[in-house]
């Protein structure tokens, strides 16, 4: 796509966000003016403008994706590549049997393509729990036995883990990087079809300026109601948003840290990350390194691209709200830390804008919270209207309820409008068939919208707290990802969210005393907060029967699992059945109880 087209799309998308913010401000001013405009109203308008612009930007991405239609699949010439690729699997106190079964399935999948010999796997362990390290040694031997000795699979464990995941990858490049043309960077829960990896190498071969190619990984294997809703959302809506993003990005696309391929030379030359001066959370190692690496590649003139048409790329996601909030806390710190980097010399303007977007993704929550506080406080600070500004003729204040309604409809429209458009587009294009038909998609979309609406006020408080913690200087550290966490019991949910119940109660009390007319609107937000522990616990329950009987949240990956997924499941169940030796059975670090402890 031409440079001018990208600029035009970017300008139109930013203009759309600004126009939406202006309309929201205009409607809000009209509404607040009805009972006399005061300084707090201006604060409310400013907060509303910023948050609406943010929502409109998200909706703009979806509109770009929808209006662009289907992108034709990018086909590279089918010439077998002579390039050697290292597939890097960084692990950190993960369940080794599961991670290594992913590796085994990917190795087998690659060998089915006939190109397996050009791919070497390297398991890069930063595990510091000796018990898990011992398990890694055991399962590595089992992995070698599974795939045969002729396949190149390496295992390396660092004594200490400076630089965390980015440092782990850098350590590999500094040790062995010169041997490889490309690096496929994965996560411990990543799974990729061999054919996808071969196609990624072909695309890198076809464009010598391409520094990094990101795939759009689909979330798989969610078990709970919450996890399945996220899985559906990632499978059904995300490709449209990603298509929109791909059209706006130009040469400065995203890197999400895994399920991507990079040119070793480009990455080594551009992505040596410094330790930022000062202490965490703003100083120290760069936490959200992937955004920074994408910006640095672009700064050095390399293309960074996302190809949403690449299938066969999978990851797993958090299965409950507590786990999701824990991951969000880490991402929040990482994104806010980008405030230190946003002014780095010679970055592309779009890269700076991407950092700003990442910061806004978390700052939006406290802004909404401030908007609500201002809305409750405003009526209490209201001046008594003067019905006789001119002696003799009374002037009554105008009540602009229509403005308020239009405003509410607009904000809700920006939130759910894109989802409805994706549904309609899917019905017209036939895409819905891959998700079990339009009726099932409609049901799933309605339930997903209801669920996200109910959970949004809870997430808002988790994110607000995360932002405040980071601003107060609290470091989230580097907890192991907990992808196997199951159900959150009510007691655990209470421990993690009692403070949300307290804030919800206080909000309702304050609204009742200060702004009783505003109470019904406040209840939409504070109501779900009162039931936070119940919602967190209930949404963590397995929802297999809803899927089996109603097809709720059915995804393409579930209806037609790819071969690598099936093979990985077979390998893991076989390994676990014939384990052969007694391994420690206590839960791995980072199990649900530890999660709730972290969130207290």
């Amino acid at each position: 796509m031409g440079f001018h087209m990208v600029t035009l799309r970017r300008s139109l998308s930013v203009s759309f966000a600004i126009v939406m913010a202006a309309i929201a401000s205009f409607l809000a001013v009209g509404f607040y003016y009805s009972d006399g405009l005061q300084w707090l109203d201006l604060v409310r308008v400013a907060l509303l403008a910023v948050t609406t612009a943010w929502l409109a930007w998200g909706a703009g991405l979806a509109l770009n994706g929808l209006l662009a239609g289907r992108q034709r699949a990018i086909r590279a010439p089918p010439i077998p590549s002579a390039a050697t690729t290292a597939v890097l699997v960084p692990v950190y106190n993960e369940d080794p049997a599961k991670t290594f079964s992913h590796v085994a399935a990917m190795v087998k999948s690659l060998y089915r393509t006939g190109a397996g010999g050009r791919f070497h796997f390297a398991i890069l362990s930063d595990t510091n729990d000796p018990r898990i390290a011992a398990q890694e040694a055991f399962w590595f031997a089992r992995l070698k036995q599974e795939v045969g000795e002729k396949h190149r699979i390496y295992y390396r464990r660092r004594e200490t883990n400076p630089g965390k995941k980015a440092g782990n990858i850098a350590d590999f490049i500094r040790t062995s990087g010169a041997l490889y043309d490309y690096l496929i960077i994965l996560d411990a829960d990543s799974l990729m079809e061999g054919a996808t990896m071969v196609e990624m190498v072909r695309r890198m071969d076809a464009d010598p300026e391409l520094g990094l190619l990101q795939t759009l990984p689909k979330v798989i294997r969610a078990r709970s109601f919450f996890g399945r809703a996220i899985q559906f959302s990632a499978s059904y809506y995300s490709p449209v948003f990603a298509r929109g993003l791909a059209l706006l990005q130009g040469r400065e696309g995203p890197f999400w840290g895994h399920n991507a391929i990079t040119r070793t030379r480009a990455f080594a030359q551009s992505c040596g990350l410094p330790v930022l001066p000062g202490k965490p959370p703003f100083g120290g190692h760069i936490l959200s390194h992937d955004y920074v690496e994408a910006a640095l590649l672009a700064r050095n003139g390399w293309k960074v691209r996302i190809d949403p048409d690449l299938r066969g790329s999978f990851e797993e996601g958090p299965d409950n709200v507590v786990d999701y909030a824990k991951r969000d806390r880490r991402w929040c710190q990482g994104n806010l830390q980008h405030g230190r980097i946003i002014a780095a010399p010679e970055l592309k303007p779009w890269s700076r804008f991407v950092f700003l977007q990442g910061i806004m993704a978390y700052v939006a929550a406290p802004l909404w919270a401030l908007f609500l506080i201002a809305s409750i406080a405003a009526p209490a600070m209201q001046v008594i209207p003067d019905y006789f500004p001119v002696p003799g003729l009374p002037v009554f204040p105008r009540v602009e309820q229509a403005n308020a309604l239009a405003l509410l409809t607009g904000v809700v429209g920006l939130l759910i409008g894109p989802k409805i458009l994706v549904l309609i587009d899917g019905a017209i294009s036939g895409r819905n068939r891959r998700f079990g038909g339009t009726l099932r998609c409609f049901l799933s979309a309605v339930v997903e919208i209801a669920l996200t609406s109910v959970l949004a006020p809870i997430m808002m408080l988790f994110q607000t707290r995360a932002v405040l913690q980071v601003l107060a200087g609290a470091d989230a550290g580097w907890p192991a990802a907990n992808r196997e966490a199951g159900r959150v019991r009510l007691g655990e949910a209470w421990a993690a969210s009692w403070w949300i119940v307290a804030i919800g109660s206080l909000t309702i009390g304050a609204a009742y005393r200060l702004a009783p007319g505003f109470l019904p609107y406040i209840m939409l937000v504070a109501g779900p907060q009162l039931f936070a522990p119940v919602l967190i616990s209930a949404t963590s329950l397995a929802s297999h029967w809803l899927y089996r009987h109603l097809g709720l949240f059915a995804t393409t990956e579930e209806l037609a699992p790819s071969r690598v997924m099936r093979q990985q499941e077979d390998i893991l169940s076989r390994w676990r059945r014939n384990q052969g030796v007694e391994l420690p059975t206590e839960p791995l670090p980072g199990a649900a109880s530890a999660e709730t402890e972290k969130l207290r």
Binding site: A133, P274, I341
Partner: protein, 52 residues
């Protein structure tokens, strides 16, 4: 900000390694935080006032 010259690899202490091939590649640290440039404005003045 600490900078490692190109070509220089840091000392590593892997506790376990199964045949990882040795083929080092330099990964120079990048400049991300602007150096403080307070002296930029002061230096010409200091030079001007300096005894000649």
């Amino acid at each position: 900000m600490m900078r490692v010259p190109e070509g220089q690899t840091r000392s590593r202490h892997p506790v376990e390694e199964s045949g990882l091939p040795a083929a080092p590649m330099a990964m120079p640290e990048q400049m991300l935080v602007r150096q403080r440039v307070r002296s930029l404005f002061l230096r010409p003045l200091i030079e001007w006032f300096a005894p000649r």
